[in-house]
Point group: C2
Chain length 312, copies 2
C-alpha cells in the first residue's frame, strides 16, 4: 500500500488529492459537483475521476489503501449520510458502501468540518498534536474535535457543532439552526458584520466602516488601523469566541486550538482578541493551551480524508 485518495465534496466542486501514506500530496485536482437530480451523479463522477487518475498514473489496485470522503452533512461512524442538502442528497444511505462498490476499494467517510479538523491536526496548524479542536470561521462557524487522533463524531452526528454553543441569553434574532444566541451569530463572517452594523446603527461613533463595505476583512483591517468602533466589534467577537473555547477546554481540554476559515485571514490580531477572553475565563490548568491559525486552507479536507482512510 503506497497511496490513498482524499476527497472533499463541496456544494459546487469536489476536491480530490492523491497522497502517499506519509501524507505528501502527489496530485490534486477538482471536478464539478453535479447536485441536480438528487445528486445521483456525484459519486459516479468521483469514481470516474479516481479511476482515471489510477490509469493515468499506472496505479494498481494493490497500491492503493483506499479513499476517504468528506461530505457536508452529518455522517454516522458507520458511514451513513443523513441528507446532504447542498449535494442534492435527500435520502439516508451508506456513502462508504456506495462509493466503495463503485471504485472497488475501502472507503471511509466523515463530515466535512470534522475531516478538515483531522487534516489540520495531521499536517496543518495542529501538526504534532493528537488532541486538537479546529474552529472554522466562515459564513457559519463549524469545527471538529479530535481526541487521541480520532474525530469525535457524536451520538447524533453533532460532535464539534461549535457554532451552536449557546453564548448569549438576550439574542432576539434567530440563528440558522432556529435557536437564539449561538456562537455562529457573533463569530462567523456574517456574525461580525452583524455586530458591526448594530454598533454603527446604535451609536454615532466615527469609524472608517461608515463609508464603504462592512465585511469581516474591512472590520479587522480597521481594527489593525486602530479604529475604535472596529475594536469594539473585535472585543465582542473575542469575548464570545474566547469564552466558548474556554468552555471547550473544561470539557475536552485540547493541546491546541486551530482557527481557520475566511475570518481567520485577519491573522494574529484575531487570536489576540480571542486569547484576551480565553485566558481569564478558562480553568486554570488550561491557561497555556496553544492557539494556531490553520495552514491548509481549502486543502484541509483532502488531507483529513486521506488520514481518515489511512487510519481506518
Amino acid at each position: 500500500m503506497k497511496y490513498c485518495f482524499g476527497i472533499d465534496v463541496g456544494g459546487t466542486t469536489v476536491k480530490l488529492g492523491l497522497f502517499d501514506v506519509e501524507g505528501n500530496v502527489l496530485d490534486k485536482w477538482e471536478i464539478p459537483t453535479r447536485s441536480e437530480n438528487g445528486g445521483v451523479n456525484v459519486l459516479p463522477d468521483i469514481a470516474e475521476a479516481v479511476k482515471n487518475k489510477m490509469e493515468q498514473r499506472n496505479l494498481a489496485k494493490e497500491d492503493v489503501a483506499g479513499a476517504g470522503i468528506g461530505v457536508p452533512g452529518p455522517v454516522s461512524s458507520d458511514g451513513f449520510v443523513n441528507k446532504a442538502v447542498n449535494l442534492g442528497w435527500k435520502e439516508r444511505f451508506n456513502v462508504e458502501d456506495k462509493l466503495s462498490a463503485l471504485i472497488d476499494m475501502p472507503v471511509k467517510a466523515g463530515n466535512d468540518a470534522n475531516v478538515a479538523a483531522l487534516g489540520e491536526m495531521w499536517k496543518g496548524g495542529g501538526a504534532g498534536a493528537e488532541n486538537v479542536v479546529f474552529v472554522t470561521l466562515g459564513t457559519g462557524v463549524g469545527g471538529g474535535i479530535i481526541i487521541d487522533g480520532k474525530i469525535v463524531t457524536g451520538s447524533h452526528g453533532a460532535g464539534g457543532e461549535i457554532g451552536h454553543i449557546h453564548v448569549e441569553d438576550k439574542e432576539e434574532e434567530s440563528c440558522g439552526c432556529g435557536n437564539h444566541g449561538c456562537l455562529e451569530q457573533y463569530a462567523s463572517a456574517t456574525g461580525v458584520v452583524r455586530i458591526a452594523n448594530k454598533l454603527l446603527k446604535e451609536t454615532e461613533q466615527d469609524s472608517v466602516l461608515r463609508s464603504g463595505e462592512v465585511s469581516a476583512k474591512t472590520i479587522f483591517d480597521a481594527v489593525k488601523a486602530g479604529d475604535a468602533l472596529a475594536v469594539k466589534v473585535a472585543e465582542q467577537f473575542g469575548k464570545y469566541l474566547g469564552t466558548a473555547l474556554a468552555n471547550i477546554s473544561a470539557i475536552a481540554d485540547p493541546q491546541v486550538f486551530v482557527i481557520g476559515g475566511g475570518v481567520s485571514k485577519a491573522g494574529e490580531v484575531l487570536l489576540d482578541y480571542v486569547k484576551k477572553y480565553y485566558v481569564p475565563t478558562v480553568f486554570h490548568g488550561c491557561r497555556e493551551t496553544r492557539f494556531e491559525l490553520a495552514t491548509l486552507g481549502n486543502d484541509a479536507g483532502i488531507y483529513g480524508t486521506a488520514r481518515l482512510i489511512l487510519d481506518k
Copy 2:
C-alpha cells in the same frame, strides 16, 4: 484471568472492590486513608489490603488481571499524579508504577470523577451506552466525559472539568478555582444554597426556607411542595446546568447524561428543571439525548476503576 480489583481513594477512606471480569462485585470493603506524613502510608495500606484479600480468598496471581485506582486529583494518561492535596501527596509521581511494584500486578489509574463516570457508563445510569457524560453535583460539581467507552482525560488533566464551565459573566463572588461565574457556583450543593440565600435576602417572598435549615435537600423538598421561592431557585439551577449540558452536547454529543452526587437525591424533579432549559437551547440534533440519575452512588468509583484495568 478471572478477577480484578477496583480501588477508589478518598480523603478519609479507601473503598475497595473485588470484581469478576463481567463486572460483578464479589466483595467490597473500606480502609482508612492515612493522609498524614505526606500520605506515605496510603499506597502501602492499599497493597496490604489487596494482598490480605487474595490470601483470604485463595486467589493466585494468575487469577487477577490487575487493579484500577482512582485518586482525587489530575492523573495523566500515563499514570502520573500531580499532587493530590486530600491524600497529603505533594509531589508528582507515577501512581501506577508505585502501586504495581507493591502488589506485583498491572495497575491503571484515573481521576476519581472520571472513573466514577466510567463506572456509571458500565454498570450504572449509562449502562448500554458508550458515549456518556457524568455530572456529579456534590459540594462541588465534577464530572467525566466518556467517548467510545474511554475517559477523556485531556491534555492538562482537565477533561470533564464540568464544574468550571463559565456560565455567568456577572458573578462577583469567586469560585474555589479562582474564576468567576463557574457552573459549580450555581449547581453544586453549596451553589443552590447560595442561590436560595440570595433570594431570601433580596426579597420578602414567603417561603418554608425562611424557617429551619437551607440545604439542597430542604430546597428541593420545598420545590416538590410547591414553594414559590424554592421553585425560583430550581429554575436558576436548571437554567445554568441545562445550558451547560446543551453546550456539552454541541461539543461531545453524548447518548446520555448521568446525574449523580448529593443534590441528585432530589430525584426526577431535578432532571425536569434541567431538561426544561436543555431542550430549547441545545442543537436540534441533540434534543432527544437521555437524562438519567446515577445508580451506583459511592460505588461508582470502584466499578469504574475495575473497568479501567479490565479495558487496559
